[in-house]
Each structure stands twice: as structure tokens, then as C-alpha cells.
């Protein structure tokens, strides 16, 4: 219903944004391509709350009693597992989709906060390696910039089978973002659209993946932890197969996970939310008696220390942030609102990362725009943000009486909605009912 004219009723089936999309499609003849992640309303960690300590549990004293946050990742087979001060890591984002300054900021921020950052499609840049104490090297289907020397320079290797924003889909870095340096790193002509493949070129299934992992270990002297990243769909089976193939760490990325560019229909309609994905991954690990032996990293829509705490309470070992990290650097800043408006968007709504004209200078290869991000300041902001997430996580863990954040457990939470109760596998608040459990 319109605020100005109460007799005008907006259709629930055809609200204004749906009408606008039909009109846009009719005008252009092409689907909408954008960045960011799913924007639709789906069950999230917000639908869970913690049961703080009371009569039957006792809490730990804030600022006084220790609640540790250190995490070890990849100690199943690798000689050199990853040691982090906080379970909040930075997700893979490519040089190409992001500016060199943005990649440097991520490295600086992660290093200050005692955590890891991750390369993306297009390979590893020297700036990124230089500024990241702990750097995870993504092994992607396109193999753009894939170099065994970089594999050896990395601290861990993440084999990417999919991502939450587009499980089953590849990517496209549009020509306007292909600077001479990006083109050279990817071994393709400048200015052309670069298609990132949707599946790996040299294997076809989980049995092959096991051999691929063996090859990567042989090339890197069995030193590096091998992560396997999947977009959240058939999570139970995917995690089971990744573990069977020999992964040290499994990364599960829910549908809220961001992307540099893909079709809107893909972002909004493929994959499942992070909330059920965590539970399904943990169930798979527990069934194999591999929970806490193969570590689980969860990503997709992580925004706050509460989200981190809830993911850990459901059984994750760590989380990854991508979109939130970019926002911490300055993405969506009101400072650039006029410029966002000039390109048809607004601060808080900007999602056309593929266009390369990001006013905040983050998702661009335009040298003038990229200069707007000071990597030292950006790194400081990111470190501040990660520190806040970690402090919030500790606050919640102490309230539940936990001396390590990994001691959080599903029993510490209840759900506010039936959907969240069913997806997360925790009781609906005020009941002992978990929909779908015990035939109920």
C-alpha cells in the first residue's frame, strides 16, 4: 500500500522490483549480471539465540577469565598446519575482480588480526604474498596464473569445487576489468571477457579428486594443508566425499556468499543457506568420526561475532568473511553516496562489481579509482573489524561458560522460528522440539 495514497495496493506477486526486472529484461534481452550475494530474505543465524549461563551453568568473567580463540587448521596430513589467532579468516577474492590495493589491504588486515587471507582466480600477486603472513592459495578450474612456485610459496592450498553464490557455475571477468597486468597474469588478450570455467579441466569426480590431492601433496612435499571448498548444495555428500578424497580442511560456502559477478538468477536461486549447511557438514564429519580431525570452515553471510559464535556452536572450526571484509575496507561507504547515485545505485545497495567503476576503489582496475583506497588504512579497518568479531565471539562464549570458543555447542542455542530449528537442528525456543528429528 502506498504511503501517499492508501488506495494503491502493491502486488505481493509483482512488487516494484519484480516489475522493474521484467521491464529491464524486455528492454535489454539479457539477464541481470551483478556481484554481491543473495539479497532475498532467508533463514539466517539471526534466527538463533544463545542460552546464557544461569542456575544450571556458570559463566566466565568478562575481561578476566580466559576464553581462547586460537585455531589449528589442516593437521590431518599436512606437515605444516595453519595456526591462527582467531577463527575469522578472509575468503578467496581475486586480483582482477579486486584492485591490487584492495588485495594488499586484505593481507595487511588479516596479518594484523592474526588470521589468513586467500587468493582467487588469476593467481597470486607478490603484493598479496608480501603482506599476508598466512596465505591460502586457491586452486581453481580456470587455473589462471596457476604456477607451482606459487603453490610452494603458499601456506595452504584450497581446491575450489564451487562457491555459495553460484554452485555449479563458472565466472566471467568482463573486458572492462582486464588491465594489461590482469591480462598478462591470465595469459589472455587485454580487454576481452575472461570466462572462468565451472569445473576443473583434469578430473571428473571424487575418485579423481583423491589422485589430484595426492599430486598436489607430492609437489609440495606434503607440507601444505589441502582445503576443499564447496558451494552449499548436497552438503552431507560433498563433505563426505571431500574427506574421503583426503582433504585436511573442508570449506562450505552458503548461498549468501558473495561473488564478483554472476547472473542474479544464479545468486538468488541456487544453493542452500549457510544455516542448514553447517549442520549438514558437521553431521557428515561426525558420521565419519572426523569432526575436529578434518576442520570445517563456514562462509556465506557472516557479519558479526554472533554469526561466528553460532557457526562455531553448530560445529564449525572457523569462518570466512568476504563481503563483510570489503565493507570494512570501505565498500558501500556513505562517503561515496553521490557517486554511487551517479551510476544508478546508492551506498548500501551497490552490487555491480563487474562494471569496474566502483567509487570506493575496491572492485576495480581503474588506477585512479583504485588510488582511493589506502592499503594501510584499509588494513587497519579490516583488522579492527576482525578484532570486534573476535571480541563479540568471546563475549558470547564466556556467557555460555566456555574457556575456548570451540567449546560452544548446539545445546547452547535455541531457534526463534520453526524453519531455523529444523535447519540448524536446535530446539524451537521454549520447547524441546526439533522439527525433523525423531520422526517429529
Amino acid at each position: 500500500m502506498s504511503k501517499d495514497n492508501p488506495t494503491l495496493i502493491e502486488s505481493a506477486t509483482f512488487p516494484r522490483h519484480v516489475i522493474a526486472e521484467i521491464q529491464r529484461a524486455a528492454k535489454t534481452g539479457i539477464y541481470d549480471i551483478r556481484g554481491f550475494g543473495a539479497k532475498r530474505d532467508i533463514p539466517t543465524f539471526d534466527d538463533l539465540v544463545f542460552l546464557g549461563a544461569s542456575t544450571s551453568r556458570y559463566p566466565l568473567e568478562g575481561y578476566r577469565e580466559k576464553c581462547t580463540t586460537e585455531v589449528v587448521l589442516g593437521n590431518r596430513f599436512a606437515k605444516n598446519p595453519i595456526h591462527l589467532k582467531t577463527p575469522v579468516t578472509i575468503a578467496g577474492m581475486s586480483f582482477g575482480s579486486l584492485s591490487a590495493q584492495a588485495k594488499e589491504s586484505l593481507g595487511r588486515g588479516a596479518t594484523l588480526a592474526g588470521t589468513s587471507t586467500t587468493t582467487g582466480d588469476g593467481g597470486m600477486t607478490p603484493e598479496e604474498r608480501g603482506h599476508s603472513k598466512t596465505l591460502i592459495y586457491q586452486y581453481l578450474p580456470s587455473r589462471y596464473g596457476m604456477n607451482p612456485d606459487d603453490l610452494r610459496r603458499a601456506d595452504a592450498i584450497e581446491i575450489v569445487l564451487g562457491q555459495g553464490a553460484k554452485p555449479g557455475g563458472g565466472g566471467m571477468l568482463l573486458g572492462q576489468k582486464i588491465s594489461p597486468r590482469v591480462a598478462q597474469m591470465r595469459n589472455l588478450p587485454e580487454g576481452i571477457d575472461q570466462r572462468s570455467a565451472c569445473r576443473h579441466p583434469d578430473w571428473t569426480g571424487p575418485d579423481d579428486l583423491e589422485i589430484k590431492i595426492q599430486e598436489l601433496r607430492e609437489i609440495t612435499n606434503w607440507e601444505k594443508p589441502i582445503y576443499v571448498k564447496v558451494g552449499a548444495t548436497r552438503v552431507f555428500y560433498d563433505v563426505t566425499l571431500a574427506v574421503k578424497a583426503g582433504a585436511d580442511v573442508v570449506v562450505v560456502d552458503g548461498m549468501q556468499g558473495g561473488t564478483a559477478a554472476t547472473q542474479d538468477v544464479f545468486i538468488e536461486h541456487v544453493g542452500i543457506p549457510t544455516l542448514p549447511a553447517v549442520r549438514m557438514a558437521v553431521e557428515a564429519l561426525q558420521e565419519m568420526d572426523m569432526h575436529r580431525k578434518v576442520q570445517l570452515i563456514v562462509s556465506g553471510g557472516i557479519r558479526s561475532g554472533a554469526d561466528v559464535a553460532k557457526a562455531l556452536a553448530l560445529g564449525a572450526d572457523a569462518v570466512s568473511i568476504g563481503t563483510a571484509a570489503l565493507i570494512a575496507l570501505g565498500d558501500q561507504s556513505p562517503e561515496f553516496d553521490d557517486e554511487y547515485k551517479a551510476i544508478g545505485s546508492a551506498a548500501g545497495f551497490w552490487d555491480d562489481y563487474q562494471q569496474g567503476n566502483d567509487p570506493a576503489g575496491i572492485t576495480t582496475q581503474d588506477p585512479e579509482l583504485a588510488k582511493r583506497l589506502d592499503p594501510i588504512l584499509g588494513g587497519r579497518r579490516l583488522a579492527n573489524y576482525i578484532n570486534v568479531l573476535t571480541l563479540e565471539l568471546q563475549t558470547l562464549a564466556r556467557a555460555c561458560g566456555k574457556s575456548h570458543v570451540h567449546n560452544l555447542e548446539p545445546e547452547d542455542m535455541v531457534a526463534l522460528t520453526m524453519e531455523a530449528a529444523a535447519m540448524a537442528g536446535v530446539p524451537l525456543a521454549g520447547t524441546s522440539w526439533i522439527p525433523g528429528k525423531n520422526g517429529m
Partner: protein, 224 residues
């Protein structure tokens, strides 16, 4: 000259020994029985001769080394090779030299499907035939086929040059026949010479990208 018997040594021991070799060292590997990930990640100018069939990813990510396989090779032979030379006297399975950035791969027999998929600068010479979807999304480097090519050769190809002596069953999207100019004949002659394949350059045709798909155009959507 060091000989490694895979009946007595593990794959880890083999690769450690080969990776630790010094320039000019020579190694012989016996009793491979189709084992995977043999002779991978080498970085020095060593000579490795492998007697027997090998499994997946033999010579993967090779840098500088010369590796000869007296037998057949499984999938992913010389995948992501950066430099050096790999030669197989028999046939190679799927995705030979996938994503490889440099060096020379010689397959004296036939290569299966997706040979040279996403190749990024490697040169490949196949003495026999190659399977379907070879040079799919191939970016740069050259693929020489002395026999016939299967379906959808060079589909979605970028800047790789393909030379075929025999028949091409079909060309993939955006792959077209191109003129054999002087520089192409010279390049082909050099590659055939290095691969020790005795064919006349004039027997080959060249194929490459029509470059119509380099920037997304909605009017080309029917191509897929």
C-alpha cells in the same frame, strides 16, 4: 645414473629423489604399473626415463626437466607444465597438458579427448590422432596433430594455434580454418623437428579463433 624401482620405493620416495636432483642428473624409473603422480613437481634440468605405463598426472607441473615415458600415460599427463619436455612413446589419456603454460609435450601415439584443454602457452605435438573437444578454451601455445582430430576441435578457443595434418571431424564454436602464413610454416617446422616427427609442413592446415566470442554479445547466444 640412478635407478628407482617402484616395487621397492614409494611414490613419495621417488618424487623426493627426483625433485632433489641436480642439473644434469639422470634417473631411470622401473615397475610403474600405472601408478599415479609420478615424477611431478620437478624444477631442475634432470633427465628422467620411465619404463612402463603411468597413471594420472605423470610429469604434472613440470619445470625444466626432460621426462620420457616408455609406455602409455593416464589422464592429466604433464598437466600445468611450465617448461621442459615430456615425451610419451605410447598413447595419452584425457586432458593431456591441461592448462600447461610452457615446455613441449610429445605424444608419439594417440591422445584422447580434451588434449590441450585451457592450454596457456605449452606446445603439444601428437603423432597420431586426438579425441573430441581438444584445445577447448585453449589460450595460447600450439597444438600439432599429425593424424586426425575428433569432434569440436578448438571449441571456444582464444589464441592457441592448431595444426592438423589429417581430417578434422568437426570444429568447435568460434574455431575456424586459417591461412598458413610463412611464420606459421616456420613455427610448425620447428615443432615437428623438435618432436622428431618427419612430416612435410605443407600437409598441415591451421585452425584458430574467429575471435567472435571475445566479448559477450547477446546475439551470439545461439552458439551455445
Amino acid at each position: 645414473m640412478a635407478t628407482i624401482d617402484l616395487n621397492k620405493s614409494t611414490i613419495r620416495e621417488l618424487n623426493e629423489k627426483l625433485q632433489g636432483g641436480s642439473t644434469g642428473d639422470k634417473f631411470i624409473v622401473n615397475n610403474t604399473v600405472g601408478k599415479h603422480a609420478l615424477s611431478v613437481g620437478l624444477t631442475k634440468e634432470v633427465d628422467v626415463e620411465i619404463n612402463g605405463h603411468v597413471g594420472y598426472y605423470c610429469a604434472g607441473m613440470n619445470q625444466e626437466a626432460s621426462i620420457k615415458i616408455n609406455g602409455n600415460a593416464g589422464p592429466g599427463l604433464a598437466e600445468n607444465m611450465m617448461s621442459g619436455e615430456v615425451r610419451v612413446t605410447g598413447n595419452a589419456s584425457q586432458y593431456a597438458a591441461a592448462t600447461a603454460h610452457g615446455g613441449l609435450l610429445v605424444i608419439e601415439g594417440d591422445a584422447s579427448s580434451r588434449c590441450g584443454i585451457s592450454m596457456k602457452g605449452v606446445n603439444i605435438v601428437v603423432g597420431g590422432n586426438i579425441g573430441h573437444m581438444s584445445a577447448f578454451m585453449a589460450q595460447s601455445g600450439s597444438l600439432v596433430v599429425c593424424g586426425d582430430a575428433g569432434d569440436a576441435l578448438g571449441d571456444s578457443i582464444y589464441e592457441t594455434k592448431i595444426y592438423v595434418r589429417g581430417k578434422v571431424k568437426s570444429l568447435g564454436t568460434d574455431c575456424v580454418e586459417k591461412d598458413m602464413k610463412k611464420e606459421h610454416k616456420e613455427e610448425l617446422a620447428k615443432l615437428l623437428d623438435k618432436a622428431q616427427m618427419n612430416y612435410a609442413v605443407d600437409e598441415f592446415k591451421r585452425y584458430g579463433s574467429a575471435r567472435k566470442l571475445y566479448n559477450f554479445d547477446i546475439d551470439q547466444v545461439d552458439e551455445y
